[in-house]
């Protein structure tokens, strides 16, 4: 072997070791702050669980939902979580299929967010049920004509695919952890042992793995589009003003990519700081991710203009009442805050390069993500106060919707739940895929030699 070749091997080996150590290091540190943070999340989940216990005993009447606004925060949250979960498919599938290599350090972050979000979407829908004890009626007596059954099928399919798509690219990394993380508790070692399913990095294993990932990437696309399109159809198939819109499918899907991209930017910032990953979640990643965010927001803005300008121009009996309520009436403050702070202003700001740096873009993304949630509240709730017949002979409380503590606590618990799923998983798995980065830097020769 020639000298230069040996040198190159040495350089590659050092480079790979550097990556590996950088990405494994955070797993050794369980800081005091992190422990507190996990306990705070658990506290919120417990509070939500207690509130849910009350709701189970006394009924959904503990929420502000009533016969007219019969869907409230839970359904808004459900739509929000489904929306956020779509980011897994955008980054892991669409960008990968488009050969966007800059996004590979983000793939696991997006898959983790997708998993946490879709799990909470499933939870939200059960929380909203009047008879959760009869959830088995859905598979037992399911009628395929009902969009709820479509939703039930795609949410579960997407949940399974999300888990698989998170797990498959993890296998080589878990094998590395199995061999390297020798100073961890026994249960953790056991997890690595089991989940690495005998990964040795042979050529045959690589071939199978890459193929499996490829299949999942392609499979997840139609499911991801279906899940949010079907979710939009829960509204669009009714004959209610503000809901019966033919563009609800693409409107929801484009909004989903906005929400998910914002969530990824926030998560990138947190992990970059906490795990000191500035070499992997670099400014370039922030720059590109924020450009992607602007693109998705522009598409979403276009659908928003369609969705509000057309009925606003037509100004029919119910359209007019609904649009008036949003533009100038009771919902106007929330509507304009959502549209301006969460959509128009972020688009404008992110056009400037300094704004696409980590800190400013993270702050902007928080606004975008909050607006993504309030937007879904605005889509779900106000429409229901404009039925065809006037609302009469019911108590005052039926005529407006002010969330109660029960549903606020439960909704907050779903947020804590999603964060807890993500936080616990990044405690034991590297948040940036080790082997993908190594492959990208051309270290795969060394990598293969590693057993």
């Amino acid at each position: 072997m020639s000298d230069s070749k040996e040198k190159e091997m040495k350089a590659q080996s050092d480079g790979f070791e550097q990556i590996r150590e950088d990405l494994i290091r955070p797993l050794h540190h369980n800081t005091f702050g992190n422990q507190i943070y996990i306990r705070v999340l658990i506290f919120f989940i417990l509070m939500g669980a207690i509130a849910y216990g009350h709701q189970l005993l006394d009924g959904l009447g503990l929420t502000a939902m009533r016969d007219y606004s019969s869907w409230g925060l839970y359904i808004a949250s459900f739509v929000f979580w489904v929306a956020v979960s779509l980011i897994g498919s955008l980054i892991s599938a669409i960008l990968k299929l488009l050969n966007q290599n800059w996004s590979s350090p983000l793939s696991r972050i997006s898959e983790l967010i997708a998993l946490g979000a879709i799990a909470m979407a499933a939870a939200s829908i059960v929380i909203d049920m009047g008879r959760p004890d009869r959830v088995l009626n859905i598979p037992l007596h399911g009628r395929i004509q009902s969009p709820i059954i479509w939703d039930f099928l795609v949410v579960n399919t997407y949940l399974v695919i999300s888990i698989i798509l998170l797990y498959l690219p993890l296998i080589p990394d878990i094998a590395i952890l199995r061999d390297r993380m020798t100073d961890v508790p026994k249960w953790q070692k056991k997890i690595y042992q089991v989940l690495s399913i005998g990964w040795q990095g042979t050529q045959e294993q690589w071939r199978l793995l890459k193929r499996a990932i490829w299949i999942m990437i392609i499979l997840i696309l139609p499911v991801a589009f279906s899940i949010h399109t079907v979710t939009s159809w829960l509204f669009a198939t009714t004959s209610r003003t503000g809901w019966h819109s033919t563009i609800f499918g693409p409107y929801f899907v484009s909004g989903a990519f906005v929400a998910g991209s914002a969530a990824v930017v926030i998560a990138m910032y947190v992990f970059r700081k906490r795990h000191k990953l500035q070499d992997y979640l670099a400014d370039k990643q922030f720059d590109m991710m924020n450009k992607l965010l602007v693109l998705t927001m522009l598409i979403y803005l276009y659908f928003n203009i369609n969705e509000y300008l057309v009925p606003g121009y037509r100004w029919g009996r119910l359209d007019g009442a609904h649009i008036y309520e949003l533009f100038l009436g009771h919902e106007a403050p929330l509507f304009w805050l959502t549209q301006i702070l969460g959509l128009v202003l972020p688009i404008f700001l992110l056009l400037f390069k300094p704004m696409r740096k980590p800190l400013p873009s993270m702050v902007i993304s928080i606004f975008v993500l909050l607006a993504a949630w309030t937007k879904r509240v605005l889509i779900v709730i106000p429409t229901q106060f404009h039925p065809q017949f006037p609302i009469q002979n019911v108590p005052e409380s039926f005529m407006h919707y002010i969330p109660t503590w029960t549903e606020i606590l439960i909704t907050m618990a779903t947020f804590a739940g999603a964060l807890l799923i993500i936080s616990l998983l990044v405690r034991i798995f590297p948040v940036v895929p080790i082997w993908e980065i190594a492959h990208e830097k051309g270290y795969h020769k060394i990598f293969k030699a590693e057993k």
């Binding site: 959904l60 009047g130 065809q388 006037p390 005052e396």
Partner: protein, 323 residues
Amino acid sequence: MKKNKDNKSETRRNFLKNSALLGAGALASTAVLSSCSTDVESTGEKVKLLTATGELVEVDPSQIKKVRKEKLSELSERGREGLVGHHWTMVIDLSKCKNARKCMSACQGAHELLPHQHHINVLQMQDTPSTAPYYMPKPCFHCDNPPCTKVCPVNATFKRKDGIVLIDNERCIGCRFCIAACPYSARMFQWFEPDYTEEERNRIYDVELNVPQKKGTITKCLFSADRLRKGKLPYCVSACPNGVYWFGDKMEDSVTNGTSKETRKFSELIKENAGYTYFEDLGTKPQVYYLPPKQRTFDYEPVDKVMKEDHEGEESTHSNAKH
């Protein structure tokens, strides 16, 4: 040319006939074969059956396969089937309604509802600023193309053969999609546990009365399906002192007034009075018809459109109307 064509169609007819015979033969032979293999002895008796294409055929009882049916209680089974051979309809004469609200209280009593739960709700309406206001009783419209049953994921709400849209509150999962889908705000939800004694709660559920009511499920107007089974008019129709309601059977083209007991031809009544249904453009085909509020000879007295909240808070308002 014509002959040729005739010939052609003749041969085609022959071909169809032959192939039909062939098909029938094949069916018969497989039937024979299957009867051989299943070892069922022919009883010699014949049972008359109506096929899906409307033909009356005679078959041996051993050839009849039992259709797998859901296990349902007797009440549910007959409740889901309905009163076959009828198509119930209601006509509401808006020129007669004086807002007596006897329909509302009779209904709430029968179905054990809270004061704010209205299977039938008398609304105060005014179509334009220049026209006179009027009272409008609004039950469920029992649409022939119901948007609510379409969206139900578990077949808890369904349309019966006699046109009535019912709810099975032992099946309902409480997703409230039907509330979202109903354009007529006909449906309500049991947000709290109904105020029953243990004994009342454990009564056998009657799907045609939707009693006992259950927490976390839907409730709505049932056209008093239990009364119809007994050959009586619905609760609201009988309770009205002002002759507002006509109820009857479209198949007989007759409706009976609940107050005067006068019976008239449904089609005539609608035609003479320019009867209409609500939001026909939605394509729901409502089965509740309205006669316009014309030539009223009584005063319109507006009443409060909002109910007073109970002082002890809403939770305590669920004392039942029947008490």
